[in-house]
């Protein structure tokens, strides 16, 4: 069964299940998984930093979403030392626009996520970020395989 993860949302699933989020543009999709316990989590994150320490929408911001996703997985039985990360998205959909802060949201989301993973001590094993195209991603909980689909490039796994 494929569970849908909406914008500014995060979810955990296990075993034969998969997690999918649609249409990542400048947003990033962070996939965490424990290959032994077959527990995985996916977050659709929109912005690099929350306006305060306890935002209402935890999954919307990198600084709150990344630790929450990891701790939910550990609660479900994942071992912290086994958790691995994959990252997709962070595009600049309007390549010709510049100067406005919002235009660099994609790259800033990626940088912030890498930083958050480093401070948690979770290794990033694969990523498909940047460019100027949208991505729909699907995470297999059993294997940690992340499928990436785009209008232009079809579907491939990382």
């Amino acid at each position: 069964m494929i569970h849908h993860v909406g914008m500014a949302e995060l979810k955990i699933a296990t075993e034969e299940h998969a997690l999918r989020t649609f249409g990542l543009g400048s947003c990033v999709g962070l996939a965490l998984y424990d290959e032994v316990a077959h527990i995985a989590g996916l977050a659709h994150i929109m912005l690099p930093a929350s306006p305060n320490e306890a935002p209402q929408h935890v999954a919307k911001y990198v600084n709150t979403a990344v630790p929450r996703l990891a701790s939910l997985m550990i609660e479900r039985g994942a071992a912290k030392r086994r958790i691995r990360a994959k990252l997709a998205g962070g595009a600049q959909m309007f390549a010709t626009l510049s100067g406005v802060d919002l235009m660099r949201v994609g790259p800033r989301n990626v940088e912030a996520t890498l930083e958050a993973l480093r401070s948690l001590g979770v290794p990033l094993v694969a990523s498909d970020v940047g460019g100027s195209y949208g991505r729909t991603i699907t995470l297999e909980c059993l294997t940690g395989k992340l499928w990436i689909r785009s209008v232009q490039h079809g579907e491939y796994g990382i």
Partner: protein, 206 residues
Amino acid sequence: MTHRLYMEERIADALRELGNIGAGHAAAAFSEFVGEPVTMRVPLVELVAFDDVTEALGGPEAPVAVTYVRVSGDVAGHLFVIQPLDGARRLLSSLAPASGEEWPLSAMEESVLEELGNIMAAHYLSSLADFTRLTMRPSVPSVAVDMAQAILAMGMLEENPLGDFALVIHTAINVPEEQGRAHVYLFPSPGMERVLLRSLGVGDGV
């Protein structure tokens, strides 16, 4: 199922009126451009869940051709002029020789699209500005062809007290026979609906 928040009818009415004025002028510009009469739907004014913003376009992955304009001035926000990709292709092929294999659109086609989007956005904003006596300056337009949600997310990034809901003023413009269609989406920046409503003598925000 689309998830919406409740909005007071008098507020929705006032914003719908603004959408009507803006889109009416944008539709006239579209009609002139395609050389066909067009019809316009009554604008939808909604507080809609992020995930459902693309529903009218065929869902989050629907391929669309978009001209985007950032709005600044007394009223700030994000304006998108959107066509389903296949409709945009049909329209472009009627205006210029087919491009061949280039994906998704040739540079020439993109610049035609940019020009059309720019004209429509400028008409939309200038008629709204005239009516409300507020300034609304469009940025240089930018074109993208991709999944609808990946592009429209640009209008939902600002810090927002409604969390994962966005205020959207959406108008669909149809070309009869040709099955062409354009959508104009205005996302006022959070709080900007208050400025718009005040200019109409309608109090409070959404």
